[in-house]
Amino acid sequence: MNIQEIRRQFPILDQEVNGQPLVYLDSAATSQKPLSVIRALDEYYKGYNSNVHRGVHTLGTRATDGYEGAREKVRKFINAASSEEVIFMRGTTTAINTVAQSYGADNVKEGDEIVITHMEHHSNIIPWQQLAKRTGATLKYVPLQEDGTLSLDDVRETITANTKIVSIMMVSNVLGTMNPIKEITQIAHEHGAVMMVDGAQAAPHMKVDVQDLDCDFFAFSGHKMAGPTGIGVLYGKKKHLNAMEPVEFGGEMIDFVGLQDSTWKELPWKFEGGTPIIAGAIGLGAAIDFLNEIGLDEIEKYEHHLAAYAMEKMSEIDGLTIYGPKDPGQRAGLVTFNLDDVHPHDLATVLDADGIAIRAGHHCAQPLMKWLDVSSTARASFYLYNTEEDIDRLVNGLVKTKEYFSDVF
C-alpha cells in the first residue's frame, strides 16, 4: 500500500485547519471520499441523470444500468448469493429499522425475546426497544467482559428458545472490539432465532462474506466506506425478504395497483419505494471499486498496524485511559480514550486548534458509556489514508493539551 499515492486521491486531506495541516481522525463517524467517487457522482449528474426502471429513453437505460450495476458490485463485495438480496437504503439505521418493523412485526410476539449487547450503537438498540414495547417482547442484553469483549458463554446463556431475533454489531464503534459473528450466528440458529448484523464499522475495513457468516440480515452505510452519504445496504436472505412486507409504499415498488388493493414487485425492488438513491448507489459502486483495488485484506492489515502504533504511543502518555481490548490484534482501527480529568469536549477543542479532528461525546452509545462509567469519551479513528505521522501529531497534541490544562486539573 502506497499511502502517499492513496492520500493524493483524497483532496480534502490536503488543507490547513486553524493554521495547521489537517489530521483527520474521525473516519468512524464518516470517511472522506476519493476522487473516483466524486467523479462518479459528477459524471452521473453531468452525463446521464435520469430516473430508473421506467422511461424507455437512452439516459433512463444508462441510469438503470449504473444503478443495477452498483447492486451487483455490492453483491460481490459482501458475497451475497443473489443481487435480489441486496436492497439499497439510506443507511444502516434505515436498514435495521426496516427489519425491526417488517420481520420483527411479523415474527415477534408477547413473551418472545430479542437479544442485543451492551456495546450497541443507538441505531441497533432503539428499533428493538420500540419493537419490544409494541409487541410485549423482552429486550435482553449480552453483558460485556472486563476488556470490552463478548464471551460466547454469555451469548449462550442469554439466547434461549424464546429468542426470535439476535442483533449485534460486527465491530464496536467505541471499543473497537471485533465480535465473533459467525459463532454467535450459529448459536442464534441453534435456538431458532434469526441473526441481524450491524456492519457499519466492519464493511469499510475488512472482508465481509455474508454466506460464510451465515447471518440472516446484514446492514452497512456507504458514507463510512469512502462512498457518499445517504446510501446504505440491507442484505437479507431471500427466504426472509420474500416473506416480509415492505415498510414503505408508493411508486417503484408496485406491481399492480387497484382501487382497494395492490401487489408488490419482486425482490429487491419491493423494498425500494419511491425514486431510489440513484447517484448514491453509483457513488457507492465507485467506492467499492476503489477499496477493491487496494484490497480489503490490505486495508485491514494496515489499520491493525495503525491501531497498534497508536496504542503503543498513546499509552506512554501519563494519565491517559484507553477503553476496549488491550490486544491491538483483537481490535479495529480506532482508539477511544480519556485524558486525566480533561473533559473530552475540551480535549477535542484544543486538538482542533492544532488541526486535529477527533470525535468527543457518547458516540451514540449511551448504555455503553454507562457500562464504562463515563459520561463521554474521546475517539480517534483511522482509515486507509491515515499515517503514523498523523498519530504522532495526535500524541503530540495530547501532550500539549495536558500541559495547557495542567494548572487547572
Binding site: N18, Q20, H343, H345, T349, A353, G361
Partner: protein, 144 residues
C-alpha cells in the same frame, strides 16, 4: 501550535468557576429542572427557590465540560437574589452574546463576560447555553 485563540475561550475566570463551582448542590422542595445535551451527554440538575417573584436561591449539579459547568456556576451566581424578569433579561443578554449579536452591556455582567469568547467556537455554544435554558424552563414551570 498556536493556542492564542484558545486563550480567548479558556479564560482564567472560566477555569476558576470550573474548578471551584459556585452554588453547587441541590435545594429541597424547589423548582427542579433536569436537562441534557443529547449530542455530548452533558447534563444539568438545576433547583431554584423562587418566592414573590424573586430567585432567592439557585443551585446546580451536573456533569460536563469546563464551558458548560463554568457557565452554570456563573448563571446561578448572577440570578441569585434577582427578580424573575431580571433573570430572564440576563438570559437574553447571554443568548445575544453567544450568537455574536450586540448585547445590552448597561447592566453589570460580572463573570459572565468571560464567556464572550465562546461565540467564536460555534461547536461549543450549546455547552454554554445549557444551564441558561434550564433556568428559563425552571422560571417557566414556576410561573405556571
Amino acid at each position: 501550535m498556536s493556542f492564542n485563540n484558545l486563550d480567548q475561550l479558556y479564560r482564567q475566570v472560566i477555569m476558576d468557576h470550573y474548578k471551584n463551582p459556585r452554588n453547587k448542590g441541590e435545594i429541597e422542595d424547589s423548582v427542579t429542572v433536569d436537562m441534557n445535551n443529547p449530542t455530548c451527554g452533558d447534563r444539568i440538575h438545576l433547583t431554584l427557590d423562587v418566592q414573590d417573584g424573586i430567585v432567592k436561591e439557585a443551585k446546580f449539579d451536573g456533569e460536563g465540560c469546563s464551558i458548560s459547568m463554568a457557565s452554570a456556576s456563573m448563571m446561578t451566581q448572577v440570578i441569585k437574589g434577582k427578580p424573575v424578569d431580571e433573570a430572564l433579561k440576563y438570559s437574553q443578554i447571554f443568548s445575544d452574546m453567544m450568537l455574536g449579536k450586540e448585547y445590552d452591556d448597561s447592566v453589570d455582567l460580572g463573570d459572565i463576560e468571560a464567556l464572550q469568547g465562546v461565540a467564536k467556537f460555534p461547536a461549543r455554544i450549546k455547552c454554554a447555553t445549557l444551564s441558561w435554558k434550564a433556568m428559563e424552563k425552571g422560571i417557566d414551570q414556576q410561573s405556571e
